[in-house]
């Protein structure tokens, strides 16, 4: 048997181009259904694990999937905003704990999530290094953000402008990193968490600048009255919040209408959840309340319908491939009739010829299997990233 494998190996090495092509084709056809299954399982796991732990989500009326994807996975879909009044409404109902989320901004491609410390408690997130944000302008970063950007506690991270060409827009805010979250293999690893007010500062609703009362240069003050002081644009705006300039930061307008992306509502019990949902259905025309699990199940239902179709396509391709491989082998054996004849004339038995051919097929199948398995290992290593890019981002 060893000799059969040796001879088969020599044949395969001699016909390496044909063999490599065959191995690649078989590997690819074997890889596709497994890869699809792996990715779908991972997507189901990633999507469902977060959805099942988020009982209710309140947001602006519109696409419920966009709302869920943005609030749970910080995807780039931007649902319409709701105001802080929605928080007050839930608080006043005593039916659920509201956890606000504002996910409009980014820092170096990582979403900035404006929220409260309740979020960490709700998601059971712990800080591995440092502490939680305590002051305006401080942030806690996910484990992947820290490792990929090589940022440690005490370093800073800049918010990215929403539009590069908006020269008159707000300045990027330099945020101080006070803590790094433990790695959880979730989207929280790839996010920058700040206090809700910090996101409003990034938006320009709140800002800090030089004390205008003490301005002396005449060019800086345009007009001064008892009630107000009007300054020119030359006044120095702070792009970093620290203990020295913290006092100068202030917000303009009515805080109750400040924007939010959504609210995670954590009801006291199922009854409270049902009552809250009923109230939103009957009273709220501009807001919606959804159960994320239900929304994700609907999405997965659609994905699995597509999977069935893809499975059928892969099956047809695999059948065509099997026929093609069969044809390649039969043509190859026809071309090798003289060689097989020589072996038989020398005194080789037909069973040995079958062994030789079997060894060749086995080696090709083994290489194809190894290649397919290796590709699957690579896929498994990156499946989280791929699923995030394909189904979430």
């Amino acid at each position: 048997m060893i000799d059969s494998f040796y001879l088969a190996w020599r044949y395969i090495v001699f016909n390496r181009v044909k063999t490599i092509t065959l191995v690649l084709c078989i590997s690819l056809v074997s890889f596709l259904p497994f890869a699809l299954k792996t990715l779908l399982n991972e997507s189901e796991h990633q999507l469902m694990s977060r959805a099942t732990t988020t009982p209710l989500l309140v947001g602006a009326k519109g696409n419920s999937l966009d709302l869920v994807m943005n609030s749970l996975y910080f995807s780039k879909e931007k649902p319409d905003f709701i105001s802080m009044k929605a928080i007050e409404k839930i608080m006043d109902s005593y039916l659920a704990l509201p956890i606000p989320l504002y996910t409009r901004f980014h820092a170096r491609d990582y979403p900035i999530v404006g929220t409260t410390l309740d979020y960490f408690e709700f998601r059971k997130r712990t800080i591995s290094t440092g502490r939680a944000f305590a002051m305006l302008g401080e942030c806690v970063i996910g484990a992947d953000v820290a490792s990929r950007l090589n940022i440690n506690v005490g370093d800073s991270i800049l918010s990215s402008p929403e539009n590069l060409f908006d020269l008159a827009g707000v300045y990027p805010l330099k945020m101080k990193v006070t803590g790094i979250l433990d790695k959880t293999n979730s989207v929280d690893d790839k996010a920058v968490f700040v206090d809700l007010k910090t996101t409003w500062v990034i938006q320009g609703l709140g800002h800090g600048h030089q004390d205008v009362k003490t301005l002396k240069q005449s060019g800086d003050v345009l007009s001064r009255s008892e009630k107000s002081i009007t300054t020119s644009a030359k006044i120095k705006q702070y792009t970093e919040i620290n203990t020295a300039n913290l006092e100068s930061f202030h917000f303009h307008g009515d805080p109750s209408i400040y924007p939010l992306t959504s609210i995670i509502a954590v009801p006291q019990d199922e009854k409270s959840a049902t009552i809250l949902m009923g109230r939103y259905l009957s009273e709220q025309k501009n807001q919606q309340i959804v159960r994320p699990k239900q929304v994700i199940e609907d999405l997965l239902g659609n994905i699995f319908q597509i999977k069935e179709f893809i499975d059928a396509v892969v099956l047809i391709v695999a059948m065509a491939m099997v026929l093609a491989v069969f044809l390649i082998f039969s043509l190859s054996f026809r071309l090798r009739q003289k060689e097989i004849g020589t072996i038989l004339h020398l005194g080789c038995s037909r069973s040995t010829v079958v062994k030789l051919i079997g060894a060749e097929i086995l080696i090709i199948a083994m290489f194809s299997g190894m290649l397919c398995y290796s590709a699957l290992l690579v896929l498994q290593h990156f499946q989280g990233e791929i699923v995030h890019k394909l189904f979430i981002s």
Binding site: D3, S4, H345
Partner: protein
């Protein structure tokens, strides 16, 4: 003809279906260590004779015996085992495997049967034969990089590996230039002599015939319809 007869063909008859080819050999004896040339026109059954003797095909009537063994009465498996362990066959066009190097081609019979085993002695014999035939420095080369003469010597080496008592050569000097023909025949004779083997060589080269002990003209045994 000597006292001891190695090959005895008796009342042999073979025909190929409707092709009109019919081979009939009432009696043919070939002595031990005899060197016999088989000549005849194309299609007269010279190659068929070698295949009958080696047991690749079996006659419809009569029998072929080698050293007392009636080859045509052996089972298929027995005939294969007998052939690979007792007969050195040099095929027309060499029939070397192009995906194996010279060494592997020489050792090929040992890799395709349970009846032969490769050991250190066999490898040494392969090296000695290669040295004797002047291909010792080509052992690791693929056969498609060899000259016709080198291929022929590799084929002879493969046939002589088992130290056969019977060597069958099917146009071993075909397609070679005159100087190579002589060299190959010298090699073949030398190898057969060293094993005290009987040599039956099918040939078209009439200028080489005087070197053989006996020449058998196959015209007398064959009936073939003109095409």
């Amino acid at each position: 003809m000597g006292d001891f007869c190695l090959i005895n063909i008796d009342s042999l008859e073979l025909s190929y279906g409707n092709s009109g080819f019919r081979l009939s050999i009432p009696q043919l004896k070939i002595d031990d260590a005899e060197k016999v040339a088989v000549i005849g026109p194309s299609g007269s059954g010279k190659t068929t004779l070698l295949r009958l003797i080696s047991g690749i095909i079996v006659p419809q009537k009569g029998h072929v015996s080698i050293d007392g063994t009636i080859v045509s009465r052996l089972s298929d498996t027995q005939r294969r085992d007998y052939r690979i362990t007792n007969i050195g066959f040099i095929f027309q066009d060499f029939e070397l495997l192009d995906y194996l190097n010279v060494e592997d081609n020489i050792l090929h019979p040992y890799r395709i049967t349970q009846a032969l085993k490769i050991d250190a002695q066999v490898r040494t014999r392969a090296s000695e034969l290669a040295l004797e035939l002047g291909i010792q420095n080509k052992m690791k080369r693929l056969t498609n990089t060899l000259s016709q003469g080198e291929k022929q010597r590799t084929a002879i080496c493969r046939a002589m590996m088992i130290s056969p008592k019977l060597v069958l050569a099917d146009e071993a000097t075909g397609n070679l230039d005159p100087s190579n023909k002589t060299k190959i025949l010298d090699t073949l004779f030398r190898s057969a002599d060293s094993n005290k083997a009987t040599l039956i060589a099918v040939t078209h080269d009439h200028e080489l015939l005087d070197r053989f002990d006996r020449v058998i003209d196959f015209k007398q045994y064959c009936e073939a319809e003109a095409v």
